[in-house]
């Protein structure tokens, strides 16, 4: 993307965000339809599952380091989170261990 296309993309993303924040004040003044409320309860798990897979889309298990650093980084992140229940420490520990692996071990 050119810089202009990047700025347009960011503004489009901003418009989508504002739409989700403002729509109820315009469309759901008398409550949302039952199906929409169902989606609201059921979708978050799937959306975050989608985002995890999206982050790993460029990992090739058949080449390079075979996704081993990513798997170890996820184990450290998840392990620290289950242990401390602290989001920030988990992200820091996971990212630093991944960086150590790709810079020092799987060069």
């Amino acid at each position: 993307m050119t810089i202009l296309q990047q700025v347009i993309t960011v503004l489009v993303a901003g418009a989508a965000t504002v739409l989700t924040r403002a729509l109820p004040f315009v469309a759901f003044r008398n409550g949302a339809p039952r199906y929409v409320r169902y989606l609201g309860r059921v979708l978050p798990g799937a959306v975050f599952g989608l985002l995890v897979v999206y982050c790993l889309k460029d990992v090739d298990v058949f080449a390079g380091s075979h996704g081993v650093p990513e798997a170890l980084g996820i184990l450290v992140t998840g392990g620290v989170y289950v242990w401390r229940r602290d989001m920030l420490w988990a992200i820091l520990a996971g990212t630093l261990s991944y960086m150590a692996l790709v810079n020092l071990v799987f060069v």
């Binding site: 924040r21 729509l23 759901f28 609201g40 985002l51 990212t95």
Partner: protein
Amino acid sequence: MARPGTKTAAFRAALPLSVPIMAGFVFLGITCGVYASSLGLPWWMPTLMSIAIFGGSAEFIVASMLPGAFDPLTTFAVVLVVQARHLFYGLSMLEPFKGMGRKKPYLIYAMCDESFSINYSARVPEGVDRGWFMTFVSLLNQSLWVVGCTLGGIFGAMIPLTVQGISFAMTALFVVIFLDQWLSEPCHASSITGLIATAAALLVFGTDNFLIPAMIAILIVVTAPRAKLEPIYSTRDDAEGR
């Protein structure tokens, strides 16, 4: 119109509630900024995103898309899905935002997860103007986020591109959110669907075009067993869930 001192009192009531958010916002903001810089984006791009989008998950995803091909439709659809939870924040704030006048557009635009949870649950002290209180909560939170993202953009621009692996911060963020969701949900059907449907779409459609098919597949798979799943998932509060 507000009495003199109204704003000061509201600011004083809002500040202590924003303090616990501070460390998290500054840390995640810096992470987001460093991540964006590590992709080769200009140092001011995280700042622009923190003002135009103001939503952590969406900003990470959008940053990851910016070095690729120009595809505003996919960006719009993905951000809509990632931010869909805000629809339910809005539903909960229909009443509290009534009569907010000039402040209402800002309150709606700046309703991130954290500002929503404070404004939804906080008991505004006696004699403090609720409108200004909510405005200051949102404004303080957003200022911290913008500062964090800007610092991250500047730090990130100073880190040599040869240092690999900073981009894993985004993976770690979503792993933590996914795990948090997993540990609190009544049933894992949806979370498992998200992983499997997205992985399947990635295998079929390839890295450049899998997001929209994945979202359609998820929607179909969670809608089909609705009669069975609705009672299980309805144990949770409408306004809850990130």
